[in-house]
Every structure is written in structure tokens, then in C-alpha cells.
Symmetry: C2
Subunit: 209 residues, 2 copies
DNA sequence: ACCTGAACACCGTTCAAGT
DNA sequence: ACCTGAACACCGTTCAAGT
């Protein structure tokens, strides 16, 4: 297990993120990253043990952007009521998914306990504590909220919500009585509004009114 | 856009699912599937236009297994109270993730409006209607619940929840006050119990007591 | 300390051809 | 109707060598 160089890691991750953003995750090859950095593919293996670790680095990058955005939101980071702070992180997370739709889904597949990952979780913990959630329930509620937020953002950028028109869904041949009854409510949605409504519902779990 | 053969599609999907289950998604190559089916790689392209469509077929398979299990649960499928039926689907979904951990995450990345996909959604719609959710809110709540359930199951099979021990999380160098305060509650969890608690919370959104 | 070149064992997919 | 063979343009990664 050789020791890795760190000097050019940020530069390499920048290149990798740019490629994924511009041409998708399938285009993100070690060879493509190397070319963009202006180096031989093999040079990358001095900085990342393999492609998987480079992808982990990319997830770390996303989390860093998230804490950075939260930090500049309102200075030290603890201004505002708990529900405003929690909402700010949720919306920032969703924005991040739209900025980096190819890389974002990796958030759900990789543990990523980088320092910045811990920092984000800690901000959520603080908000939940302030909301009055019992200490014993805080980690569970954090996982529930973050799972939903990340899952929603992934579904959205991947088209899981919009896939299949109304006609497809209510097509004859599938026995779908509830779809028929709800036909008038199956039109394309305003996902901003839906995300807001979902968050409001979750807030009511966190602190029943 | 040539017309595809269907005769051996199920056989091919069986082979693909077996490879993914046994050796992971990275090992799922067209060549490996072909070998298992006993055919040349190129023969597969008569049944699926490309690898992506084969993966879509795999997602369809998962959904088919889900409706099959639900159907045999209690016969016609509409016995039991709404919360029991909704819970049964949620737990069956989570079981499916454990059976096919490599393929399951694709559920969140692919629209998949196959007939069986619509059937699952319709069962959820029916439960929510019976719970008293206003028609206009049913599709949103369905998306919220399914997003959470799938996201939870993916996080679990991918180790997102367990990654990083306590020590890692509370390691010095990261300023994480809430982690320090919650140190006693950050031990490894019983995910069955946590999933149950989360579902109970969601049920309270669906039908406030 | 950092990088390169050549090589190995793979990929998905196209095209033309075969029964 | 169904399948094959050869080929193209790629992959990630190892190893030995170079400055």
C-alpha cells in the first residue's frame, strides 16, 4: 500500500469533474482525465490508487462544495432557526445535483466519511437537536432526511419522476384502477413545489406542531 | 430502429441477473452474459439494442419480482388495511435490495415505466387513497415514500450508513460538536428497527393521528 | 519525487456474412 | 429467423524504466 502524492490531487479532481459534467460519467476514463491534465494515464496512479478512489475523491469534492456554500450562506453558519438551516442544506443539496448530475448519484453509493462529509452531517445534527429531537433519535432522523433529499435529487436528475407520459401510464392492458381515478392529477409537476411540500411534511415529523 | 426478438429475452435476463448477483455489476459485460447463455456476444444484439436496454430489462425484472411477491402475499392483493399493504411493499422492496444488491440501485436511475412498474405504483396509490390522502396529493406522497424506501435500501446495501466507525466520525481535527454530544448514540444500529421507525414516521405524514 | 512506454487482458458495438 | 467472425476504437492496470 504505497503512499500517495497529494500535490496535484485537486487539479486531477477538477479535470475529472469537468469531464463528467460535460460528457457524462461514461466518458470519465482515466485516460480522458490524464489527457486533460496533460499527463500520461499512468501518472494518475501516483495520486489515486485506482479509478474507484478517484471517484471517492469526486464525492468528497461535492461535499466540500456543500459546506462551502453553507458557510458563505450567512457567515459562521449557525444563524437562523433550525428549520431554515435544515432547509438551506436541503435546497443546496438539490442544486448540487443539478450542477453535477453525473457525479451526484455516487453520493448514495459511497460511505464518504471525509471531514467535509462529517461537517455536513454535524450541521444537520445541530439543527435536529435544536428542533427538540431527542438525542437518541437524531442520527436516525438525519439518515431519514438525507436519504430522502439525496434520493429525490437523484430521481429528478435521472428522470425517474418524469419518465413515461400520462398515456404510457394509463395505457390499456395494465390493470391500474388508481391511475384511472387519479388521471387528472398525473400531469407533469413543478418539482420545486413538490420538493418544498415534501420538506414541509418532513419538518412535521421532526417537530410535530 | 430494428424490431427486436423476444423469444430468449427472459433467458438472457436470467443470465445477466445471475452474473450481477454472483460477481457484481462490473462483471456484467455483454461478453460474460453471452458466454453464460452459450452464444456469441453479437447474438444478444438481436434481443436488446445495447447494454443500456439490457439493464433496463433487468430493472423490469426486479419490478416483476416485486408484484409477484405482493400477489402471493395474500391472494388477490387488496386484503388488509392500507398501512399493512403499504408496509408489505416497503419491506418487500428492501428485501429485494438485499437479494440483488448490485442491480437494485438502478431502480433510482431509470424511469422504468414497464407494466409491472405501473402495477406497483398503482398498489401504492390505492393504499394512499384508502388512507384518506386527497387525490391531488397521492402522486406526490407516492413519490416521497418510494424515494425514501429505495434510497434507504440502496444506502444500506452500499454501506453508506455504516461507513466510517465512530472513531472516524469523532476524530480530532474535524470540528463536530454535535457528534461529540451524540457520541453515545452513534454506535452501529439495527437497521430493521430503524427502517420500521422511519416507516412509522412516514405513516404519520400520510394519516395524522 | 515524478513521470513515461509498452504491454495485458479486457470492453461495447458495427458490419458483412452465414444457416 | 437466428447466429457468427473479424475488426474497430476503446478500457483499467501492471511492470520496468527513465529524469
Amino acid at each position: 500500500m504505497r503512499k500517495l502524492k497529494t500535490s496535484r490531487q485537486p487539479e486531477i479532481l477538477d479535470a475529472a469533474l469537468a469531464i463528467a459534467d460535460e460528457r457524462g460519467l461514461d466518458a470519465l476514463s482515466m485516460r480522458a482525465v490524464a489527457e486533460r491534465v496533460g499527463v500520461t494515464p499512468m501518472a494518475l496512479y501516483g495520486y489515486f490508487r485506482n479509478k474507484d478512489e478517484l471517484l471517492d475523491g469526486l464525492v468528497g469534492r461535492l461535499l466540500t462544495k456543500l459546506v462551502a456554500e453553507d458557510a458563505e450562506r450567512i457567515g459562521p453558519g449557525l444563524e437562523g432557526a433550525w428549520n431554515e438551516r435544515l432547509g438551506a442544506i436541503a435546497w443546496a443539496t438539490r442544486r448540487l445535483a443539478r450542477e453535477h448530475p453525473s457525479v451526484f448519484p455516487l453520493l448514495l453509493s459511497r460511505p464518504s466519511v471525509t471531514p467535509d462529509g462529517v461537517r455536513v452531517v454535524d450541521l444537520l445534527y445541530q439543527a435536529l437537536i435544536e428542533a427538540g429531537v431527542p438525542d437518541a433519535d437524531v442520527p436516525r432522523i438525519e439518515r431519514m432526511v438525507s436519504t430522502f433529499v439525496i434520493g429525490f435529487a437523484i430521481s429528478e436528475v435521472n428522470g425517474r419522476f418524469s419518465g413515461g407520459s400520462n398515456e404510457t401510464r394509463t395505457r390499456r392492458g395494465v390493470d391500474a384502477p388508481a391511475h384511472r381515478r387519479l388521471a387528472g392529477h398525473l400531469a407533469a409537476r413543478d418539482w420545486d413545489a413538490e420538493f418544498a411540500a415534501d420538506l414541509a411534511d418532513l419538518m412535521r415529523i421532526i417537530r410535530p406542531v
